[in-house]
Symmetry: C2
Subunit: 217 residues, 2 copies
Amino acid sequence: MYTLAEENYLKTIFHLEQEYGKEVSTNAIAENMQTKASSVTDMVQKLADKGLLSYRKYKGARLSEEGTVAAIKIVRKHRLWEVFLVEKLNFHWDEVHHIAEQLEHVRSEELTNRLDKFLDFPDYDPHGDPIPDKNGNIKSAEKRLLSELDKGNNGILVGVRETSKEFLQFLDKRSIAIGSKIKVLGREFFDGSMVIQVKKEQFFISKKIAENLYIQI
Amino acid sequence: MYTLAEENYLKTIFHLEQEYGKEVSTNAIAENMQTKASSVTDMVQKLADKGLLSYRKYKGARLSEEGTVAAIKIVRKHRLWEVFLVEKLNFHWDEVHHIAEQLEHVRSEELTNRLDKFLDFPDYDPHGDPIPDKNGNIKSAEKRLLSELDKGNNGILVGVRETSKEFLQFLDKRSIAIGSKIKVLGREFFDGSMVIQVKKEQFFISKKIAENLYIQI
DNA sequence: AAATATTTTTAGTTTAATCTAAAAATTACA
DNA sequence: TGTAATTTTTAGATTAAACTAAAAATATTT
Ligand SMILES: [Mn+2]
Ligand SMILES: [Mn+2]
Ligand SMILES: [Mn+2]
Ligand SMILES: [Mn+2]
C-alpha cells in the first residue's frame, strides 16, 4: 500500500499533530526523522498529491482522514509488537522500541489481529501508550505531566513521554515504573526541579525528567 | 548490514545452490525472483564487489563463506517466524510463507534467539524444512522425493518442496500432512504417476505431486 | 564448422528517496 | 516598518534498484 518511507512520515506527522494539536511544520518533521527539511518538503508534497494529508506551502501539513487511518494502523502495530517483545520474549522496556520500528511495517491485517488476540487485547504498551483497537479507536485516559503537579499532589505513573534507553534506565535505577505511586514533596519554581517520593524513597529530579512522566491523579 | 534487495538475492542464490549443487545462473535467479536477467546481472556484480559471492561472467554465481552465513541467517529467521505463526498465532501452513518473507528481514540477533527459545528451539518449520541453529548449523535428515520410491516402498512424509497455497491445500483436502505414513501401491513408468495409500485411503497422484513430497524411509 | 537459438551482459532510462546549495517566503525585532 | 534572522522551498545531483533494447557470448542444431 504505502512505502516504508511514506509510512514513517505518516507516523511522525501523526505523533506531532497529537503533541501540538496544529499543522505540523517542515522543520519539526525533519528534526524528528533525522532528515533534511528539503527531503521533508518533497515527501509532504508527494503525500499531499496522494491525498494522505493537506499541505499549504510554508504553513505545514495536516493528515487527512485517510492519512490518519493509515498512521493509526502503524501505531497499533508498533505498540502491539512492543507488548509481544516484553510480555512473551522477556525483553526489557528500554530495548523494544527500535525492534518495533521494524516490525510495525510488516503488512498483514490478519497478523496484527491475531497478535492482538494472542496478547489478550492489551490496552497499553510497555511505556503506557494506548493501543488503538482494530477499528482505530484509541482509549485516551486522563493524564498529566508530573511537571504540572503542585507540591502535595500525588498520583500513579501511567506513561513515559521519552522512550530512550537512557531515560528508561534512569527510571529503572530508581525503581520507578509504570504503576508506581508518586508524590510531589517539593517544587522549585526557579528551574522546575522537584523532590518526589516513590515508595519509601525520595528523589530530586530535574524539570526535564518531570516533563517526561505522565501521572494519573 | 545488507539492503532488503541484497538479502533477497542472497537467500534465493542460497536455495538454488542447495537445489542444484553448482554455480547459479543469472536466468535461474531471475525466474525465481520474478525479475529480469539484466537486473540480476547488476546485483550479482554488486554482491561480488562486496565479497558475498564469486561471479564469473556468463558462468554464474556461487556464495562465499560470508554470503552463505548471511543467507543462512535469513533462512533461520524465515523458518522460525513460520513456526511462530503456526504454533502461536494458529495460522495455517499455507498462509505463513508470505508473512515470513517480510519478518525474515527484521534485524536483531537478540530477537531471533529469543524467538527461538520462546518456540522451544524447534528443529523444523511447518513445511518440514530444517531450522538452522544460532551458529548456522543445519540438521540434514535423510529424505527422498516420493517420486523416487518404488512400488511397495513406504515411509513418512517429512517435508514439502513446494509451499504454494494451491499445493498445500491440495494436500489438506486429502488429509495428507507432515507425519503421514505413505505407501506406494503403484507407479506408472510412462508418466511417473502413482497410486499411494495414506491411512485407509488410496489416491492417484501425478508425477508433479510426487516430486514435491519428501519422504523418510 | 556454420548458422541459429539461447543466455547473459551492457548501455541507457526511470523512479523513490535522499542530499547540498541557493532562492524565496515568513517571522522576529531594532 | 524596514532589516535581519529563520524557515521553507526549489533546483540540481546522487544512489539503489529496477526496467527495455541492443550487443555480445555461449550453446545447440543442422
Ligand atoms: Mn516505541
Ligand atoms: Mn511504546
Ligand atoms: Mn516459507
Ligand atoms: Mn517453510
